[in-house]
């Protein structure tokens, strides 16, 4: 084969990144193969970047992909010769997966391997030995059940991920089913990609399935997948979410889409401490302690019932102490849900070891194409600073400058104009500063939702918004996570945090629900021109472009 095949869509680089041309006729074919063993890093308009990592290869191995498939895909679809060291390293990574297995023999757990030198190596490794029991005559090691998670964690750190075939406890039985009609009598069925994800995770109840992560973009119905997997498992379930609003959202979705009743679902939060067959809690309460020296007393929740399934919502935000607790829960089925496997703290390998390998990953472009999520158009509007604030801005410190720019009063007429442009859309006005959100809300004469709004009022506002009684809602950052506002077609961000990627994704996620007609959603971001705010907006812009959103920049005078 020639070293240069210009018709091919891939470029494999020496740093293990893979570039793929989106407009190449072979794009879809190559992308679908690539997805199985590489992680998407960024997807701007023309060329997407994927990365090969030991984890991505092990994820692939865990889902049954052979190493030859990986190397054949790379060499077969690459424009240029694939760097030899990349191929060698792929083989090396893949060869490490499955050389160690955790199996169950009677009531005992064993770490087994056919590779005697490897057995010797791990038996001498200081990171691993604390979690290994006695060495048995056949070369395997006894493993105490409490050490199952920590051993997997230690093994992945030294580059030998163990295949966990020890199975799960069935947990406390819970009978329920998915509804065919929601409470509002709307028909409900799983979408094809949701069914596929559920099947891949559950693996027909086999030991190879039952733990892992499902990666889906915002708005693709991760809660539905959670509910469907619960339906497959039919056991008591503990759900951990990011905050109380998300907890409520889970509860209302479960009530809406399953036959579970209110007395079967409990909320375990700062306000309520219900433990029921299905319990929904927050990471925050789990990691709460009075002082640094205290125990995480709410972690006991993990042992309060014989959970058959634990669901980790937004698994990329899972806090470290919950990882620790999860290490002791390896006998239970575990489902991670997320829009991205990339963690800001780099603990992806802990997710792999303790929650499980990636089971499904549906590219959002595909969902957008099929109409399951709305097409988002992001527009940044640059608003000049008013003359009377320019000097004040110029002589202020960086943090104050950011605030002055964020609260630029000239944003208000732009907001009004934008609202006027979308008379039939549900509109969210989002801001970081409560005072700004309040004053904008007041000026527009729309209700305001902030951290200080009571939960009752919050539920009422969300309800009204959902029902279409309120068309415009001004919200502070409290609405960032897991608030499901089904019909918000337009979001206007009037100020943001210092370029947080998470926040950006979450805010955008609010408007990705499928829309009638053109199925389009608009995300406007108002930014003061030539200011610190623009510098941070630039990071946001890069992030969204790399996520593949269409991103335009305009000037306020073009609108006013």
């Amino acid at each position: 084969m020639s070293d240069f095949n210009p018709a091919n869509p891939l470029i494999v680089q020496g740093d293990h990144t893979i570039l793929i041309e989106v407009d190449n006729p072979l794009y879809l074919e190559a992308r679908n193969r690539l997805l199985r063993f590489a992680e998407l890093v960024k997807s701007p308009e023309h060329i997407h970047t994927y990365r090969l990592t030991p984890l991505s290869i092990w994820n692939a191995c865990a889902s049954g992909v052979e190493v030859n498939e990986i190397t054949d895909t790379l060499t077969g679809y690459s424009k240029y010769k694939v760097p030899t060291h990349v191929l060698i390293e792929i083989n090396e990574f893949a060869s490490r997966y499955g050389r160690l297995k955790i199996i169950k023999q009677g009531s005992d757990l064993l770490l087994v391997t056919d590779d005697r030198p490897l057995a010797m190596e791990i038996s001498l490794n200081r990171q691993v030995t604390p979690f290994l029991g006695e060495k048995l005559p056949d070369g395997s090691f006894a493993v105490h059940r409490d050490n199952r998670g920590r051993l997997k964690q230690a093994l992945i750190k030294i580059g030998y991920p163990a295949e966990d075939l020890a199975g799960y406890t069935t947990g406390e039985k819970l009978s329920f089913s998915l509804r065919e009609e929601t409470l509002e009598r709307l028909p409900f069925t799983l979408r094809p990609y949701q069914t596929e994800s559920v099947d891949l995770f559950h693996a027909g109840g086999a030991d190879r399935g039952g733990s892992g992560v499902v990666v889906l973009p915002c708005g693709a119905g991760k809660t539905i997948i959670g509910a469907a997997i619960m339906d497959k498992v039919q056991a008591s379930t503990l759900i951990l979410a990011t905050n109380v609003t998300a907890v409520r959202q889970w509860i209302s979705e479960l009530l809406d889409k399953t036959t579970l009743t209110e007395d079967q679902i409990g909320e375990y939060s700062g306000r309520k401490k219900e433990i029921k067959p299905v319990t929904v809690s927050t990471y925050q309460i789990m990691t709460y302690r009075k002082s640094r020296e205290d125990e995480f007393k709410h972690m006991e929740l993990f042992d309060e019932r014989d959970w058959g399934l634990i669901i980790y919502d937004e698994v990329h935000l899972l806090p470290a102490p919950v990882f620790q607790a999860t290490a002791g829960l390896q006998a239970r089925r575990r489902l991670g849900l997320t829009a991205t496997l990339v963690r800001e703290d780099g603990l992806e390998d802990d997710v792999f070891a303790l929650i499980g390998p990636k089971k499904a990953d549906v590219p959002w472009k595909e969902l957008e194409h099929d109409g399951w999520i709305a097409k988002a158009i992001c527009t940044e509007i640059l608003v000049p600073m008013p003359e009377n604030l320019r000097m004040h801005y110029a002589v202020s410190g960086a943090r104050t400058q950011f605030r002055i720019a964020s609260e630029n009063p000239d944003k208000l007429p732009v907001i009004e104009k934008l609202i006027a442009q979308f008379p039939d859309e549900q509109i969210l006005v989002m801001g970081m500063y409560v005072s700004q959100v309040k004053s904008v809300g007041e000026a527009l004469g729309v209700p305001v939702l902030t951290g200080a709004t009571t939960q009752k009022k919050r539920d009422q506002l969300f309800g009204d918004f959902r029902a279409g009684k309120i068309r415009i809602l001004a919200v502070s950052k409290v609405a960032n996570f897991s608030v499901d506002l089904p019909d918000a077609g337009v979001a206007i961000q009037i100020s943001g945090t210092f370029g947080s990627r998470q926040e950006e994704a979450q805010r955008l996620g609010r408007i990705l629900r499928p829309k009638k007609g053109l199925n389009q959603a608009h995300f406007f971001s108002l930014v003061s021109h030539d200011t610190k705010e623009q510098e941070f907006a630039m990071k946001r812009q890069l992030f969204l472009c790399e996520q593949g959103y269409e991103y335009k920049i305009g000037y306020s005078n073009e609108i006013l």
Partner: protein, 589 residues
């Protein structure tokens, strides 16, 4: 040409040789006196030269033929360059019985020269006998090898880059960024560095990759970057002013792409004798001492070099060895020094170039500098080269040379090619059509400010251009860099140029995000108008500073800077001093 008559030349031989030649030619059999025999031989030469020539060897006839058409003079170098072997010496062709009449036809001038001469009388006779020798032809090279002594051969095509490079350099001059020595007018290290940064393609790659990490490693340094510092002066595109170069009127024209100005600048350089290119060869010492007196005029060396270049074929590679051979064979030899004894390597006594064995070597060294550093920089010739370390093509093994890794940074010059631009500028051809530079679309630019190149082997020019505004993040991916853009603009580039470059080379249109980013940069850049010198006047206390800054006669020419200082524009310093004195203050000198 010698005005000596044939008779005098024959008379230079001793009686013994005269007799043998006469016997050989079968003339003056009855004569016994030397004068009679000389007369008879001379007569035969004048009346029946063919009878004389039939007793000469082929090589001797070659000397005579050459002399007949080269104004009566043949140099050893010219002859050997042409025929590949040395010419027959006048007195060496001796045998007991026969002495060739050749010895009666040629003579040596003086004691030191090895040139052979014939009388102008004989020139006239021989002209009719020998047809003019075929014009010497330069031997060209069909294909340049990839390696030379295990080193990768690099090729520099000057024609495609010279004009953009010249523009960038002249812009630096215009920005006052080229400082030169007041005494020598040679560019300073800072100036060379500044020029290096704006070269369209990186300077010649002369570093030895195998030993660059050696602590004693000697870097060959800059070539084109330095040459431009000289050329902008020699070509008349700049003039000296207070330690810096300023753009001249013709420089402005050249900067605006006036081609005629470029050609005229080239000739100004070729006619200029301001800078001796040999000075760039630092290993040969004595050039600024006694050796300087022996150095020949530049307007003697360059025309000879140019005369030979005139006969070079256009667009054909010629080995440097062949360049030197042809220089001599085409009778365009020149000397660099009339007195080699004062030029030396390392030490005057032992390392002197005056010792035997240096013939023609210094001229080759000079030719290297002229071609590699100046003509290649002007884009008139293309060059193929390797790094110079331990090649020693000239002065190999010379005493003192082992103190240096190379004779000159130009030692690696292997091949040259006269390109169409050079042919036109040097009057070899009558017209010039600039090459159509292919605007290759070699990257795609995305809204996340990344460029993905579509070719794994970019040219040096392409790589260099990308570096002007982006940073490479992986094999094929580059990221637009604000810092790189600002640096390029500081060195004279502009946002408009960048936009033009992207438009010409990107497969897709400029994304809106990048357009806004560049617009913002462009606007910000224009926010600061200029830089000018100022005097900071520090006062004892804030009250004095405030009093000065708010004084009705002073406030127009100064302003408060911080609590205790006042800043005054340099141009207002004099007025400020005078007005300050009126207020009873003195500004210390």
């Amino acid at each position: 040409m010698s005005y000596l008559p044939i008779l005098d030349i024959v008379s230079k031989l001793d009686a013994e040789k005269i007799k043998k030649i006469a016997r050989n030619l079968q003339v003056g059999r009855s004569f016994t006196r030397k004068a009679d025999l000389i007369g008879a031989i001379t007569h035969l030469i004048k009346t029946d030269i063919q009878a004389v020539l039939k007793h000469c060897s082929v090589e001797e006839k070659q000397v005579l033929a050459l002399a007949a058409h080269k104004k009566g003079r043949v140099s050893a170098e010219m002859f050997s360059s042409r025929y590949g072997y040395g010419f027959p010496e006048r007195l060496s062709h001796y045998s007991r019985k026969n002495v060739s009449p050749y010895q009666a036809l040629v003579f040596n001038e003086g004691y030191q020269t090895t040139d052979l001469l014939i009388s102008d009388e004989l020139v006239e006779i021989l002209k009719d006998v020998f047809p003019p020798p075929a014009a010497e032809v330069v031997k060209t090279t069909d294909e340049i090898p990839q390696k030379h002594k295990d080193r990768d051969i690099q090729i520099h095509y000057g024609e495609s880059t010279v004009f953009s490079e010249l523009k960038s350099v002249l812009r630096l001059v215009d920005l006052g960024k080229i400082s030169v020595s007041e005494k020598t007018r040679k560019p300073s290290g800072t100036a060379v560095k500044a020029i290096t940064n704006v070269l369209s393609v990186p300077d010649f790659q002369l570093e030895d990759p195998t030993i660059i990490s050696d602590p004693y490693y000697e870097s060959p340094g800059s070539v084109r970057a330095y040459a431009w510092g000289i050329l902008v002066q020699s070509c008349g595109w700049s003039r000296y002013s207070k330690g810096k170069l300023k753009l001249s009127a013709s420089g402005k024209k050249a900067m605006n792409g006036d081609f005629e100005e470029f050609v005229s600048g080239v000739w100004s350089y070729l006619d200029s004798s301001k800078f001796d290119e040999l000075n760039r060869v630092k290993t040969i010492r004595g050039q600024t001492g006694k050796g300087k007196r022996g150095l020949t005029d530049l307007d003697f060396r360059k025309p000879n070099l140019l005369a030979a270049i005139h006969a070079w074929p256009v667009e054909e590679w010629i080995s440097f060895k062949e360049v030197c051979r042809f220089q001599l064979a085409s009778d365009n030899s020149f000397t660099v020094s009339e007195n080699l004894w004062h030029l030396y390597f390392s030490e005057k006594q032992y390392g002197s170039l005056g010792y035997d064995g240096s013939e023609g070597e210094l001229e080759k060294v000079y030719t290297r500098v002229f071609l590699f550093e100046y003509l290649a920089t002007l884009g008139l010739i293309d060059v193929a080269y390797v790094y110079p370390h331990y090649l020693w093509p000239e002065f190999n093994g010379w005493w003192g040379s082992d103190n240096h890794p190379f004779c000159s940074r130009y030692d690696g010059l292997l091949y040259v090619k006269l390109n169409p631009l050079g042919a036109y500028c040097l009057d070899v051809s009558d017209s010039y059509t600039p090459p159509e530079i292919e605007e290759r679309k070699f990257f795609r630019i995305q809204s996340n400010m990344e460029l993905v190149v579509n070719d794994s082997s970019l040219t040096a020019t392409e790589l260099h251009s990308l570096e002007m505004f982006a940073e490479q993040t992986s094999d094929m991916v580059w990221k637009v860099s604000k810092e790189n853009i600002l640096l390029s603009i500081e060195q004279g580039s502009s946002i408009d140029e960048l936009l033009e470059f992207i438009e010409n080379h990107s497969e897709n249109q400029l994304p809106n995000t990048l357009q806004v980013f560049l617009d913002d940069m462009g606007r910000k850049i224009k926010s600061i108008l200029s830089v000018s010198d100022a005097v900071l006047v520090k006062c004892n206390d804030s009250v004095t500073a405030a009093a000065i800054a708010s004084d009705s006669s002073l406030k127009k020419i100064c302003q408060l800077a911080g609590d205790n200082s006042v800043v005054v524009g340099k141009k207002n310093e004099k007025a400020f001093r005078a007005r300050l004195r009126k207020k009873g203050y003195i500004l210390p000198k």
